[in-house]
């Protein structure tokens, strides 16, 4: 059964992540999680160089004060309606919508300190699209056969509902 194997993998992956929440660990976990089966090798996961190059490009015009604008620093790879415009914030879902524990992950630079951070683009789910403040970042974005790097997917896996409402940008930690 696909899901049985998947469940086992997820549990072990989560244990690993709990032990060491580094960027490499998270991407390895995503690779494990999303390949799902046993045939394929894990993907190469360390793309720090390339990812940071895109993050740098976005950071040139980014700001850190208004999360309702597309150039807010955490939105470097966001795709969708900003929860910050829909009654929520970057990491608080609007009333009546609920966060997915899963996401794809971007690397954004905070221009205030010049540091790179990992951002979890977890969707808030359970209502039809908010429709406000659409932003699309495509730096580093890959087709859906690389789901861990694709932003077209409804990232509501594990939420109470698979209906997409808006896009969050939750801080994972330093890259």
């Amino acid at each position: 059964m696909i899901l049985d194997a998947f469940d086992r993998m997820m549990e072990s992956a989560a244990r690993r992540v709990a032990q060491r929440s580094s960027r490499r660990g998270i991407l390895a976990r995503l690779g494990t999680m999303l390949v799902g089966g046993a045939v394929l090798p894990l993907l190469p996961v360390d793309k720090t160089g390339a990812k940071l190059a895109h993050a740098n490009e976005f950071a040139k015009t980014a700001q850190t004060t208004d999360p309702t604008k597309c150039n807010y620093w955490r939105h470097c790879s966001s795709d969708g309606y900003l929860c910050s415009c829909c009654g929520g914030t970057v990491n608080v879902c609007p009333p009546g919508s609920y966060a997915s524990p899963t996401s794809w992950i971007g690397t954004c630079i905070n221009p205030d300190d010049g540091q790179a951070y990992l951002i979890a683009y977890q969707d808030c789910c359970g209502k039809d699209s908010c429709g406000l403040c659409f932003c699309l970042g495509t730096e580093g974005e890959m087709p859906s056969y690389r789901p861990e790097l694709n932003n077209d997917i409804v990232w509501c896996f594990g939420a109470p509902s698979m209906v997409y409402h808006c896009s969050s940008q939750v801080l994972i930690g330093k890259a």
């Binding site: 009546g96 594990g158 801080l171």
Partner: protein, 397 residues
């Protein structure tokens, strides 16, 4: 699950339809099984909870959008009236109506769904939403259906004590569906004998408007059966000068102001069998070119006894034309106090019921304007309220 973060409390319901007794009457509260094992959660430095709203302010404005031409995807938007910041939104069904509770704890949508969007099996429901979590917290099926029409406010209402919700039904026989919203239970249908709409008149009574210009008044019991039927005399000429459906009604004070196509105002006391007062006219000398018109074209501010009406220049049968101005009247003196030119012409207006009220005006192009209803100055506006916002609701109205 994280229960508290950043000063907001996490709602626990999600897409479910409530536990407790309310669910017993409605659709089974089938939780959708999460597709991910809990251990798969992405660890993050920040929490990611769900915002819970404070008790709604009377200055919040609730905008019902039927979403033409995507009518199966309706929406209720909620904004803070002072700055038009988004408080939240909920989704509704086909051509919904909204009803606001007296105590601000709930609003209800009367809605219609098909099992496959626009086809399949039809289900009509009253859905209760918690005003703080915006979760659907209960559902009652309306087995006889409901009136499907471009949304009109007075298709559904609440009795004076907030116990019963009445939903107008035309299928095409005429009735009012009675729902006990305390027990979340459907009680039955009241035959309105060809009369339409629902105006609250007490704890267990309701008035409808008849084709020939009179009120039908029905009293009902706790089983949803008619116990008394009263029929008034015609108070307007429904051939020559009908009143708009969108009377300005203030439920707490049981006052209603019915405005006719030609501009006559019929004050009605909605306490028991409706009592119609002496009519008076909106237009005075020199106003001959002006007419009331639009959709939700009239609003009443009870504390200051002021009536607001959207007015435009136009001939006969321009009753759906948007207002270029809002005219303000003292309903005691029947004097016009003000003409408020609107920045954008608007078919729909509303006024908040607080002491320093706000006047809202909604355009056909999805712009919501806010005016100070004391100074009559424009405060702010917001465009892009979806693609076809239609009706305005406030708590306390």
């Amino acid at each position: 699950m994280r229960l508290r973060a950043l000063g907001v409390v996490v709602g626990l319901c999600g897409a479910c339809l409530a536990g407790g007794p309310v669910a017993a009457q409605g659709q089974p509260a089938t939780p959708i099984p999460p597709q991910m094992p809990p251990a798969a959660a992405q660890p993050t430095q920040e929490d990611h909870p769900t915002l819970v709203l404070p008790e709604p302010s009377p200055r919040w404005i609730y905008v019902l959008e039927p979403v033409f031409p995507y009518l199966v995807a309706s929406k209720m938007w909620i904004f803070d009236g002072d700055d038009l910041s988004v408080k939240g939104m909920v989704n509704g069904g086909y051509l919904p109506n909204a009803v606001m509770s007296h105590d601000r704890s709930r609003f209800w949508l009367t809605e219609t769904y098909w099992s496959r969007g626009s086809r399949g099996v039809r289900t009509d429901v009253v859905t209760a939403f918690d005003t703080k979590t915006l979760d659907p917290v209960g559902e009652v099926v309306l087995p006889k259906g409901r009136f499907l029409v471009v949304p009109k406010k007075h298709n559904a209402t609440l009795t004076s004590d907030g116990r019963y919700l009445l939903s107008f039904n035309m299928d095409p026989a005429f009735s009012l569906s009675v729902v006990d919203v305390k027990e979340m239970k459907y009680l039955g249908e009241l035959d309105t004998q060809g009369c339409s709409l629902a105006f609250p008149t007490g704890n267990t009574s309701v008035a409808s408007l008849c084709p020939d210009g009179r009120f039908l008044h029905l009293t009902f019991d706790s089983a949803g059966r008619v116990t008394k039927t009263e029929l008034g005399e015609p108070f307007f000429d429904s051939e020559k000068d009908p009143v708009f459906e969108h009377a300005a009604i203030h439920r707490p004070s049981k006052q209603g102001y019915f405005v006719s196509y030609d501009g006559w105002v019929y004050p009605v006391q909605l306490d028991g069998m409706p009592k119609v007062g002496t009519r008076w006219k909106l237009q005075g000398a020199g106003d001959e070119e002006w007419r009331p018109g639009g959709w939700q074209l009239a609003a009443f501010h009870a504390a200051s006894n002021r009536l607001f009406v959207a007015m435009h220049k136009g001939g006969p049968w321009t009753h759906k034309q948007a207002g270029d101005e809002v005219w303000v009247y003292d309903v005691r003196s029947r004097q016009r106090l003000q003409r408020i030119p609107l920045a954008h012409h608007s078919p729909t207006i509303a006024v908040s019921q607080d002491e320093k009220p706000l006047l809202f005006a909604l355009t056909e192009t999805a712009i919501l304007q806010v005016y100070d209803a004391v100074t009559y100055e424009k405060k702010t506006e917001r465009s892009g309220i979806g693609i076809s916002p239609w009706l305005l609701y406030t708590f306390g109205e």
